[in-house]
Every structure is written in C-alpha cells, then in structure tokens.
Symmetry: C2
Subunit: 430 residues, 2 copies
C-alpha cells in the first residue's frame, strides 16, 4: 500500500528513488498545510494503538537488526541504542500520545497590527513544508521525529541508520497505517527505502529544491558532515560542552548539589556539564568540597595547576580536555579569577550550548547571564535542565546550537515558519 514499498522494489537507482520521495513529499506537504489538528492527532493515536498491537512484529524486525549488528561486531552502547524491548516499545507509543497532547502551532497568530495605510497585518504560523531527518541507530527516532513533523504540519523524509533498518521499517509501516486511518497521505512520513549512503548525498542536495530543512540527529561526525555539505538550511546540534561556574558568593551546599547533578545525573546527554569553574576567591574552601562530592559520586577529575594544588590527586587537564565533550563520568576543573575569568574561559572553550552560574549575588548573576553568548544560561540550577520537556515544549527533536531560526530545544514551534497575511480595502501604494 505504501509508496515506499513500491519504490523499494524499484531497485538500485537511488537518485530516481530519492527524486520520487521528494515529489511525494511535496504533494503531501500541500495536504498537510491545511490539515486540521484532529486529523493529525487521529493518525498519531492510530499509530500508537498499532504499535501496541504489533509489538511482536517490531521485536522480530529488531531481532534481525540486532543479529546483523552483533555479526558486524557492534558492542556496548551501540547495541544498547539499537535494542528494543516491550518497555521501549511502550515508551514509543506513549511518546506519540504525548505529542497528540501538545497544542498544534499551525495557523496561530504570532502577532498582528494595523498600519496607517489601513492595512491589517498578521504574522501567522505555518509549516515549513518538507523536512529531511538523518539519524543514527536509535529506531525510536523514526516514531518521534515522524510524529513531531506530522503534528507541525510538515511532510518528512526519514533516513535512519542502516543498522536499525528493519526496526525503522516496521515502525514506519505502522505510522503509514495511522496516516491511512486518518485519511492523510501515507507519503506524509516517508522512510528512505535503501541503506545506500548515496541517498544521504541526495538529501544533502535538497532533492531538487524540495527540502526546506535538514535535521541531523546523531553523533558529531554526522552533524558536521550535514552542516558542511548540505545545500539546504540545517538545524544542527554540535557539542554540548557545558560549564558550571561556582562564584565566590555561591552557597556551598547548593554548589555541591548542582555540580554533581549537572555532571552525574546522566553523563551521556548534551546538557551534562563537562567543566567546573571555581572562583579563585573561594577555591580554597569550595573547590575541595565540590570536587570531593563529585569524586564520591564516581566522577574522574582533571584540573589545572591551581585546582591540583588544592586537590593533589587530581590528574592534570590537557588543552584538549577543556575542549572535550566526555559524555562520561569525567570533568575538568579550573580556578578562574571571578565571573570575568569564567566568561573568558567559556568564550575560549565553550560550544555556546548551556552554562550555569551558582551565586547568591544577583549582580554577578546578571553579568554572567547578560554577557555569556550561549543558547541557555542558568542561575542556580543544573545544566541538565537543558531539555525541551523541562522548558515546557514537550517532545523535542534536538537542541540547536546554531543562532538562526531555532536556538536551544527544537520542538513543534521550531519546526514551523510564518507568513504575513495582509488585509486591505483596495489600498494602493502612493
């Protein structure tokens, strides 16, 4: 029933296959532009239901991927990312229902005003059109990326990792059923039907002007390739090299709690802290206390000379360390001359993602919040709050580190654009 399957049998001609996907998406986008919320939600609810009904089908497909992955010698984190079980499949269904619960941003009036000419101008939120998403092993991205694009009124072309090909196809077939059930074009969510890497190249070229946006979701190498080679706008996410700065006016207990949570709650997420900065004015007291708390939590510490003078058993941090997103239980520690010193360090080594200052001094906090050029700046809170859900945006497709269009969490609203609707009564321009 689905175009994708027909295309799949079309064989090795990737260019033709991708061009067809592009034409399908452009057509589907027209229908989605004006599709009412009810219809989009119905598709997602039907898909969630089918996911629960077809758990075994998904598990069988996933087993094929797991087998192939093990045969190819994949291990540890990669295998874990690829693996699906009942709980993860249920989470996928719940994820779709959570997106159903979100408000539909499409068609809302962002702002409106009248002009002396008598014209009434409205800035109205509309879908972007066609989005391409290139992702790696996690098969659940197929469900939530597809759902976020649908709810925001966009047609999407999904290119999953080859290692999760069978799992993604099973999930995608279910999404198509949902679209059919809601009488939306099943081509609203398409999955690239081949693992041929040439397909990615075609997407980077924009499918003949079809793609309005490309979203890479995966490791640094993927994001860098997409950012560097794409001929279409990209919402990319590079490093999350987050800092926690402990100011001389910081509350010691709060500093400990925030530093440990920012680093250790989950070390693998982009909002995890990678560097601890301590004001030299309180280094003697605060640094050992916070460092010990981190150590007790199982974190390895690497410091600069001043930090190591206070914690001699700390390893020496190399210049590379300050630029490394460990995504692991490792943190670098530097002693800096006050908030200015912290800002200089962050400007030199940071990735403009998320930084936190711990201080009871409002003025110092404002200096930090105003002068730091990162997407998310927190005062007396953990960097691990850098998350769409924690911002009240619901599901997110990622955290954008660029400055244009979307910055920080990319949720439904960030997957839309706007147009001007201008109402007159015969006005001509003098």
């Amino acid at each position: 029933m689905s175009v994708v399957k027909t295309l799949h049998t079309a064989g090795p001609d990737v260019v033709a296959t991708m061009a067809q996907l592009g034409r399908n998406a452009r057509e589907a986008a027209k229908a989605l532009r004006t599709a009412p919320r009810k219809q989009k939600d119905a598709a997602l609810l039907a898909a969630a239901m089918t996911i629960r009904a077809d758990v075994d089908l998904i598990l069988d497909a996933n087993a094929k991927d797991m087998e192939a992955a093990k045969a190819r010698g994949l291990t540890g984190a990669l295998i874990d990312r690829l693996m699906l079980d009942d709980a993860r499949i249920e989470a996928m269904a719940k994820g779709l229902e959570a997106i159903v619960a979100l408000d539909d941003p499409v068609g809302t009036t962002i702002t409106e005003w009248d002009m002396p000419s008598g014209l009434h101008i409205e800035r109205r939120r509309v879908p972007l059109g066609v989005i391409g998403i290139i992702y790696e092993s996690r098969p659940n991205v197929t469900a939530d990326a597809g759902a976020l694009c649908l709810k925001s009124g966009n047609a999407v072309i999904l290119r999953g990792g080859s290692e999760s090909f069978h799992s993604s196809r099973a999930i995608h077939t279910i999404l198509e059923h949902g679209l059919d059930a809601a009488q939306l074009p099943s081509t609203a969510i398409q999955l690239v039907p081949t693992t041929d890497r040439a397909a990615v190249g075609e997407m980077l070229k924009g499918l003949d002007g079809t793609l309005d946006l490309l979203v890479p979701r995966g490791g640094r190498s993927l994001t860098e390739r997409v950012t560097n080679e794409a001929r279409v706008p990209v919402l990319g996410h590079l490093d999350g090299l987050c800092h926690v700065y402990i100011d001389k006016d910081a509350d010691m207990e709060m500093a400990k709690k925030i530093a440990v949570n920012a680093k250790m709650r989950r070390t693998g997420i982009c909002g995890a802290a990678e560097t601890l900065l301590v004001d030299e004015a309180v280094a003697a007291t605060h640094l050992p206390a916070v460092a010990t708390a981190l150590k007790d939590a199982g974190c390895e510490l690497r410091g600069d000379d001043k930090a190591r003078a206070l914690m001699p058993d700390m390893a020496a941090a190399t210049d590379d360390d300050w630029r490394t997103e460990y995504l692991d239980a490792i943190i670098t520690v530097a002693v800096v001359p006050g908030v200015k010193g912290a800002l200089d360090h962050i400007a030199k080594y940071g990735s403009q993602h998320t930084e936190s200052i711990v201080t009871d001094n409002q003025q110092t906090a404002d200096t930090f919040l105003t002068q730091c050029d990162s997407a998310i700046l927190l005062h007396n809170a953990s960097t691990q709050f850098a998350d769409g859900g924690e911002f009240g945006m619901g599901a997110e497709i990622g955290i954008a580190t660029g400055k244009l269009h979307a910055r920080g969490p990319v949720g439904l609203e960030q997957l839309t654009t706007f147009k001007y609707v201008v109402r007159g009564s015969g006005q001509t321009r003098p």
Copy 2:
C-alpha cells in the same frame, strides 16, 4: 586611525587581511553585545552629521568611481545606481537618523514563563554576533546596512561592489568617525579594503567560524552564488515573481487600481507584480478593462491563449515569460479557473515572495490566504506594499524569500537571535 586603512596597506595577502577583519569583528561583537542604545544612536547621529559636513569629500570619491565606471563602459541603470548627488547624500544622512528613531530590539524579553520545577524561563533577544554583507553598486548600502547591523548590536563586515569602492570607503570612514565619537570600537563596522574577489570567497567560508550570518544584497547571480557556496547561514532574496489574482467576485474598479499600482508604481522593486491572473468566470468583462488600464499606463502585455482571445493585440507569453521577473513595464496575463487555478499557477511559477487577491468574497480570500505558500499574501491591496517601511519595521536590509529565521522584510528584529535566561533557586533535575 582605522584598522581597515592599516590593513589596506597590508597589501595583496587577502586571506590574512580577511582573517584579521574576522578577528577584529569578533572582538567588536563582544563590546556591541552589551552596548546601550544611547551609545549606538550617538554613533549614528555623529555619522549623519559628518555625512552632511563632508558632502564634498563623498562627491569627490564618487566622481572617481563614476569616471572609472564610464571608462569601463557602464551605462544606464548601473551608472544611475552608482551615482551620488546632494539629494542622495542627504537621504543617506536622513536614513541614519531614521534608524536612530527605531527601538533597540536587543535585550527585550520576547516571552517568559514559569515551570513546575520552579524555574523561571525568559527568551531574551540578543544580537547575532558578526554579520557579513556582500552588495553591489549602490554605495548608500554602506551606510544603511552598516547602521542596521550596529543598531541591532552586531559587528558587520561590508564587502561593497568594486565599482563603488571609493564612494563606499568615504562613507565607511565617516561611519568609523561616528563609532569613535561614541567610544565604540571602530571595527564594529568594517569595509573589506580590497576589490580582490578572493575576499568574497573568504567570507563565504565564514572567516574561521566568525560570521554568524551572510546577507547578499544585489542581483540574482550574486544571491545564487552566495546561497550555493556559503558555509554559513544566508538570508537571501531571490526573485520577486509576484502575482495579482482577480477573482470573479472582484470589484472592477479596485481590480484596475490595484493591478496598475502593483505593476507600474515602481517596476524595479521586488514587490512589483509580474503576472496578472484573471478568473475565467469574469475574464470577458474584467480582463479587457484591467488590461487596457495597464496598457494605458504604458505597460506591455503578454498573455496566454484565453487572454489573447479577449485582447487580440496582446503578444503570446512563452513558458519562460511566466518565470521571468521583468522588473520592467511588462506583465504576463493568464485566465485561470477560479482561486484553485490561481493557486496552481502560483505554485508552479511563483517565487514564494508576495501575491495579492482581489475579491469581495471573504471565503475565497481566506482560501487564497491560507493555501498559498508565499511569504506575503495580500487581500485587496497592492503587492507594492511588500516593504519593511510599509510593515512598520522601519528600514530593511532586504526581503527574505527563504523560510527559516526571517521571512519577508528583514529589519532590526530579524538581525537578532535569542537566548534562554533561566533563573532558579538551587534546582537539580530529578
């Protein structure tokens, strides 16, 4: 006194020169990020004053450019664009004062809300950082592009057309004086000190991650090159292939007025109409009337078969004609089957810039305004209102035809981004 001049004497090493401009801009951007409105306005007012005082200096420089241009055989529109006189120089000074009068978007709270976690989240408007602008012959762009970037808190690197090199340098020197007078870094507005085209190549590469945005301002070939080759985000403006659709429920007199104004008020601007679409239901009455009004206004008409059946002296439009932005007193005329037919024609041939529907039928208007995917849609008004000033945005740097970040007029607000400022009281993430 200005870095640019020093660099200019640095000679042929364009790569080193551009890298230095990049470093200067990055430094200047830091100071601009927190520069108060007063200081930015003072720089612009001082520049406006100096422009008036140094008219002769500017005219002398412009004379050099004009001479060289004529020697190179430039004529007509190109020479006119390049030419400066007292009136145009006064307009330049007034332009700066108009930008002084605009509100400073930097630091304003776009929106803020509280989360159950107790975090208070603010989305705050901040400058982009460093903007690169590549433009063609009009030397006045040096003044208004430089001023718009400064007022929005951005450092800018201007690369003017080689034909206007001397004029732009004279204007730029005056802007630097203004910056000095206001104690802002004179490197906040830099002019590429060489006409070597290699400089453009360096800007397209982003000057080692320095450029946050590139804005091409000029003809299609320039915009296309920048859009295709840039390694940094671009706010580009491609064709303004605007349509006026006259519906069966249109008021005949209004249709005439709007069609003539949309095409003929100024034929050279991107908001000028290039195609007239007439509902077949009223073609017999409305088309001859409107076409005649256009003809009487001095416009050449090219039509499809149905249009020519009603106006036999009309030339036949080729398929290319429907895709051509004439920027001249020429218009194509097609008879279409109602609003759906108009939407199909626009989807096939349009450039998603600006379209207008003339009708007294609210429902038909809503169909057009909702289903058309262009940046600006007007009901019963001329397409020539597609302008930052007419939208109440004040001066604009151009009209963006892309869908990301900015769409339509690009004014001060569109030259900014935002960051999240999050205030807590010791929150850690569960």
